[in-house]
Subunit: 201 residues, 2 copies
């Protein structure tokens, strides 16, 4: 017999399904929620419900949106002839934080990974080609992660675009040493990339 009353056990079980939340953390969070006022706890429950009910994918770029198109696509001041391709909606936020990019996005919904059964049809890749081919697009910045699957996805897209839209510049985010890093602790791959991508000062 578990020492918890069933509703408490259920909450702990649900909380422990969250990424990075183990049994102990789930228990601590559950007891925290129990100590809160009803109002405060319901605010979290309602925020979860609301986000699932109101948030969908943008029809154009597949970013998260609370209407048919997302805020980035709706913003007329952004350049529509530069498209930045990312894996996930969270990547859009990361790039927006840099204030370096004022174009549009295209969210693939993941990266190609044949071992995990993720093929081009499982991502919004065909939709990207269609966007590039139909609209006036000057540049496609491929900002998938610098991981095996992200690189494979970037290559796959770049090759296809080179054929179907040769007038469009296809670029990739620079790979190299992170700002503030120490050469001594950099891994060989990153240092190798930094070397290969060296620039005149």
């Amino acid at each position: 017999m578990t020492a918890y009353a069933p509703p408490v056990q259920r909450l702990i079980t649900e909380l422990s399904k969250l990424p990075g939340v183990g049994g102990r953390t789930a228990q601590r969070l559950a007891f925290h929620l129990l100590r809160l006022s009803d109002e405060e706890a319901f605010a979290l429950a309602d925020a979860i419900r609301e986000v699932k009910e109101k948030i969908g994918l943008c029809e154009r770029c597949f970013n998260l949106a609370d209407g048919p198109i997302c805020r980035m696509c709706a913003d007329e001041r952004r350049d529509s002839d530069v498209i930045c391709v990312v894996e996930e909606p969270s990547d859009v936020i990361s790039i927006e934080r840099t204030h370096e990019f004022r174009g549009r996005y295209h969210v693939l919904g993941g990266a190609l990974s044949p071992i995990d059964g993720i093929d081009p049809e499982d991502l919004k890749i065909a939709e990207l080609y269609q966007r590039v081919e139909s609209g006036p697009v000057r540049e496609v910045v491929i900002a998938t992660n610098p991981t095996t699957t992200g690189e494979a996805t970037a290559l796959h897209i770049a090759e296809r675009l080179r054929e179907s839209a040769p007038e469009v510049a296809v670029t990739r985010l620079a790979s190299g040493l992170p700002v503030g890093a120490d050469l001594e602790y950099a891994d060989e791959l990153t240092l190798g990339r930094a070397f290969a991508g060296r620039r005149a000062v």
Copy 2:
């Protein structure tokens, strides 16, 4: 302008109020919830609602309960003449895990801390005295935390019970080296307690 749609921002704000959850973690959790099916996300929202709606405090021991009295108080096989006094409902779970105790509990709802304005009236201390004085009680095990406030609470209760119920044994959990610890890394207070509490082997 934040890059998030308002419902997403609201969810991140609510999540970041949880203990140990910073802005980045809240964002990661929010995107995780967005990726889940509606059903999975609603299960968490409903578990939060349910726990607040169904769980209250046990009338007898002030542990969490899904009815008028908790499972520990309802279990007739437990000794009712030994009461273990703890600060929080989560402490009951910790002690239950040891399988060392088969008596009843009394949850104070915190520890005495005059600086934070927590006086005896703010805790379920009067209710403890009443339980001890009205029922046949053989022993009161004070299992408040071995912290300044926990110790102060233990002393406060022990003194009062010594006067009002001198026939009841009042004990305190042993303080000393944790199992598996290394003398070299033990703090002076803990090591001092371990010395003071040494036992014949």
